[in-house]
């Protein structure tokens, strides 16, 4: 029982990170019908920018640890959002009218470019986050010790997701995003600046991804330049699992995948941990391509 609860909470923490990244995939897909392959690398960038800001400003000495991490998160999210917007302008905007393959290839190119930029700047080895930022408190949950960090990650992610959901559902810009996702042409005719909508999507998604990168750094304590594509693929699986283009779907898919992976690693085999996500991805695409709550992705001729 104890192991089950440990794995479950661990799965929920990792799953909420997947969910945050998955939101970026799903939002871009919703509006542009493009899989932004570079999204995973924006997540990596978030982790590395977090490390740089953390070590160069040592904020945790000037204010409390929680305030420091909060401020750090805001800075990282802002920077990654800017890079996301830049990425859209440089790599995707010129290809709006091009065939699908062109945009996919450009996205792959962007992914390779970003990943290797990180490698050339920070080196190919694992980098270690300072361990003393957040207190390693363990709380007692019905007699079972649960690290506070897991609960914090889950709560902060859930808060961000709720904020995003309200933003999409309740604000004018959110309405514009939903309209552009349904029909770009009609949205344009209704006076919506679709270009600006796309730009906003390319800022919000990467900002969440960057925050997820920071969380991974704080949670696991070490980061690597290639981690973006593993997390990216898993988050993409989460987005498909929940139904791509669907925001609550991404959240559900992320949490579900995290839990499945954690339990699978614990009860089936740790060596196959990374294969579980890919197996889920392939099975879901064969059996129910539209995901749990989403649109169809298979072509029928």
């Amino acid at each position: 029982m104890e192991e089950f609860v440990q794995q479950l909470t661990n799965g929920l923490a990792v799953g909420s990170i997947y969910a945050l990244i998955a939101l970026g995939y799903t939002m871009v897909y919703g509006v542009l019908k493009l899989i932004n392959f570079a999204h995973g690398d924006l997540f990596t960038l978030g982790a590395y920018l977090g490390l740089t800001l953390l070590t160069s400003f040592s904020l945790q000495d000037k204010m409390g640890p929680l305030a420091a991490v909060g401020l750090l998160a805001i800075m990282v999210m802002g920077l990654v959002a800017l890079i996301g917007a830049l990425l859209d302008r440089v790599a995707y905007k010129p290809l709006r009218e091009s065939p699908r393959l062109s945009a996919v290839v450009s996205a792959l190119g962007a992914s390779i470019f970003l990943q290797n930029t990180v490698m050339l700047i920070y080196g190919a080895r694992f980098r270690v986050y300072p361990q003393d930022i957040l207190p390693r408190t363990v709380i007692d949950f019905f007699g079972m010790p649960i690290p506070l960090m897991r609960i914090l990650i889950l709560l902060v992610s859930l808060a961000m997701m709720v904020a995003l959901y309200t933003f999409i559902q309740k604000t004018r810009i959110g309405t514009a995003i939903r309209a552009a996702a349904i029909d770009q042409g009609a949205a344009r005719l209704m006076g919506i600046n679709v270009d600006r909508v796309i730009l906003i999507v390319f800022m919000v998604g990467p900002a969440l991804g960057g925050a997820a990168g920071l969380m991974v750094g704080l949670y696991y304590g070490q980061i690597n330049f290639t981690m973006g594509w593993v997390y990216g693929l898993k988050a993409f699986t989460a987005a498909i699992l929940g139904g791509i283009g669907n925001i609550p779907g991404a959240m559900l898919g992320g949490l579900l995948l995290g839990v499945m992976e954690a339990l699978g690693a614990a009860y089936i085999s740790i060596a196959w941990k990374d294969a579980i996500a890919f197996l889920v991805l392939i099975l879901i695409l064969i059996v129910r391509p539209k995901g749990i709550l989403g649109e169809r992705v298979a072509e029928k001729i």
Partner: protein
């Protein structure tokens, strides 16, 4: 004009075919090394040509090509080390195994939209790599792989030096070029052209699109499997790390950069991606960065690749002049 072009081509081919012979005099110190680089170019060229059938002719985004390459390499290596089958005899078996593997994978996902197919093939490649590392059937040697693969023998001649392999690999490459070129002109090739340009119209004209797509996938994978066996013969040692996701990316990149579907373009792409970084070795660490950038720039300014395929030409029979 035409004859002059042809003459230049003949001279080029002769120069290339004698490359290991004259390289000995040009670079006496590291001739072997450069021949080996060109051998690698040959292997990647065959892989890229086999991917072209899937990616360009049939229009399916396969980014797990290294998986079929791996299946072929492992089949060849296992047959050779466990059962003592000469590696060149194991070559067709390796190809067929990779082909069957690809058909099992592709059958249920062939109808998926392009970018989803891409993700599935990436996933398949990763699952296979993890399976190889975990030594799933107890015969793949786990993370260390398989070593001690015997050198290939052809009519009693033992192929062991890089210049021997040069002729083996580039001979196979030449055969591949010839066969794939013939295939393009065939009914099969024309059917693929049609279904890539307009799948609905092709289906309407009685082309079984799913069957042709599957056949293209099978053919490309079979060829990659045979190349895998060649690779195993050349290296005498293989491990899961030789077939990582990045191998698939590199092969994909070669096809896209070279010019989707043109064979000369694929060869040019292979030289650029595989041989050029060896020449500018100071920039080796920035290799992938430059290629990533090149992929983006290329898609924005020259989507069709460096040497795009020429549209198919049909010479119409001369019509009888009417009236006047």
């Amino acid at each position: 004009m035409m004859t002059r072009k042809r003459g230049l081509a003949v001279i080029g081919i002769i120069l290339f075919a004698t490359f290991p012979l004259w390289m000995k005099y040009v670079r006496p110190d590291d001739a072997r090394y450069w021949v080996d680089v060109i051998n690698n170019v040959g292997l990647y060229a065959i892989l890229a040509l086999s991917l072209t059938v899937i990616l360009c002719d049939a229009g399916m985004y396969n980014m797990g090509h290294a998986a079929f390459y791996a299946v072929g390499a492992y089949t060849g290596a296992i047959l050779n080390t466990q059962l003592g089958v000469p590696i060149l005899l194991a070559l067709p078996v390796a190809g067929i195994t990779a082909g069957i593997f690809s058909a099992i994978i592709a059958r249920p996902v062939i109808h998926l939209r392009g970018d989803y197919l891409l993700i599935v093939t990436v996933g398949v490649g990763e699952i296979l790599r993890i399976a190889l590392i975990n030594d799933v059937f107890g015969i793949t040697g786990g993370p260390n792989g398989i070593f001690g693969i015997a050198r290939p023998e052809l009519f009693g001649f033992k192929i062991k030096r890089p210049d021997h392999f040069f002729y083996l690999i580039w001979g196979f490459a030449a055969l591949t070029l010839f066969l794939f070129n013939r295939l393009k002109q065939s009914r099969f090739g024309r059917a693929l052209d049609y279904l890539r340009e307009d799948a609905v119209a092709a289906e309407g004209s009685g082309i079984n699109t799913d069957r042709y797509r599957l056949l293209a996938f099978l053919l490309g994978a079979t060829w990659a499997g045979m190349t895998g066996s060649l690779f195993a013969a050349k290296m005498t040692i293989i491990s899961p790390e030789s077939f990582s996701f990045w191998e698939s990316v590199v092969i994909f990149m070669i096809v896209i950069l070279g010019g989707s579907g043109n064979m000369a373009g694929v060869l040019l792409g292979t030289f650029i991606v595989i041989a050029l970084p060896e020449v500018f070795r100071d920039f080796a660490s920035a290799r992938m960065l430059i290629f990533g950038l090149a992929m983006m720039v290329m898609m924005v300014f020259r989507t069709q690749g460096l040497l795009p395929p020429k549209p198919r030409k049909f010479i119409l029979p001369k019509l009888a002049e009417e009236g006047d």
